[in-house]
């Protein structure tokens, strides 16, 4: 996996999993690799993967079946969509609009 420079690795791993949920690669109730499996697949310390899984569990995106492993929550897609739409509207879009204003691009030229 390629990591960019400024976001903490465990959050980038969360993003990668959410991305796969959005694209439909990961489906509801599908098992995801164990902490150690995933760590060795991408060459990352298992403790880092554990942090990612803990965050995704707290956010309701994955769930843990004790002794069996981690699975994608039934309503993960909806949860991720809502969270990322909110993030897009509140953080990404204002930045894009600011940049468009700087560059003198009229938003109406983009529509249609």
């Amino acid at each position: 996996m390629e990591f960019n420079s400024n976001k903490s690795i465990y959050l980038q791993i969360c993003d990668a999993i959410c991305e796969q949920i959005l694209s439909g690669t990961l489906k509801p109730d599908e098992r995801i690799p164990s902490v150690r499996e995933y760590g060795s697949e991408i060459g990352v310390n298992p403790n880092t993967i554990m942090r990612s899984y803990e965050k995704l569990t707290a956010d309701g995106i994955i769930y843990n079946r004790r002794g069996i492993g981690y699975f994608i929550s039934p309503d993960a897609l909806q949860t991720v969509l809502e969270a990322q739409r909110k993030e897009f509207m509140e953080e990404e879009l204002p930045q894009i609009l600011r940049r468009m204003k700087l560059l003198g691009i009229d938003p109406s030229t983009l529509v249609g």
């Binding site: 690795i9 697949e41 298992p46």
Partner: protein, 275 residues
């Protein structure tokens, strides 16, 4: 757990380690960092019982490594920076020497050799330095030990092998293992070592998980200059700046910048991490 208490060691008049106190916990891959000559290799050889502490103690789950009890020796492996080029095939070396380790697994040795693209039928004294190193890495992992100490394991490895090494270090080790890797090549091992230990002349400056580090320090990668930066460095596309984490925001720990920050502000760092 390995408990190191007030450990001291000197070569003649020259003190190398003085007052080293720290714990090493199960299931962790520690990165041991420090400038040349601060005693990283000395510490590793003390931990595996090759040297006798002159002061203080090491307790490896209730045992003293210097007693060299066979039960402990067969559950630990020390991969030194320089490895002997034996006049035999790698597979034969593994077959004969593997007997000393209770958990040694020949199939795993062959598998890891394959992963590292190394030929087990090649004679060790005909291998390049990197190939020889990879043979010993495969051997170390195949020993299945709980305690694994590695001195600069990525030295001499080619680019693909470094990536394979990062994957193998979790794939082929036990879940309860205590792994300690000394390195100068922090980029080779970034994302894989956690916690980070930084040794200074005679002292432990830092022993903290990446999570703790990112709670206490903030790593900024923007192009804006920060007034209160403890450390800053220009890189293509901006700066890496390190400051105290006051907002609680999470950032990616850059180990080289961390190392430099710790060295510039030794007392401050010890203060904030020992709270």
């Amino acid at each position: 757990m390995i408990t190191i208490k007030d450990l001291g060691f000197a070569y003649g008049e020259k003190a190398v380690l003085k007052n080293i106190t720290m714990n090493l916990e199960e299931g962790r891959i520690y990165g041991l960092l420090g400038e040349n000559g601060v005693g990283k290799t000395t510490l590793l050889t003390l931990l595996c019982g090759l040297k006798k502490p002159q002061r203080g103690s090491i307790d490896t789950d209730g045992r003293n490594p210097y007693d060299r009890q066979p039960s402990l020796l067969s559950d630990q492996y020390y991969l030194s920076d320089e490895v002997p080029a034996m006049n035999m095939k790698a597979a034969d070396y593994a077959k004969y020497y593997g007997k000393f380790w209770e958990g040694f697994d020949m199939d795993k040795f062959i598998e890891v050799m394959g992963v590292l693209e190394n030929d087990p039928q090649q004679k060790m004294n005909q291998m390049s330095f990197g190939q020889l190193k990879k043979t010993y890495i495969a051997f170390a992992l195949a020993c299945n030990t709980k305690y694994l100490f590695m001195d600069e394991p990525t030295n001499g490895l080619d680019i693909p092998s470094k990536a394979q090494f990062r994957k193998a270090i979790t794939k082929y080790t036990r879940e309860d293992s205590i792994i300690l890797i000394s390195t100068h090549q922090v980029r080779d091992l970034e994302n894989i070592i956690d916690p980070i230990i930084i040794l200074d002349r005679q002292d432990v400056l830092l022993n903290a998980t990446l999570e703790e580090i990112s709670q206490k320090l903030y790593f900024d990668y923007s192009s804006e200059r920060m007034e209160d930066a403890l450390y800053s460095e220009m890189v293509p596309g901006g700066n890496i700046q390190v400051c105290l984490n006051q907002s609680g925001e999470d950032s990616k720990v850059n180990i080289e910048a961390l190392f430099n920050t710790v060295h510039l502000h030794k007392e401050l760092i010890k203060g904030i991490f020992n709270k």
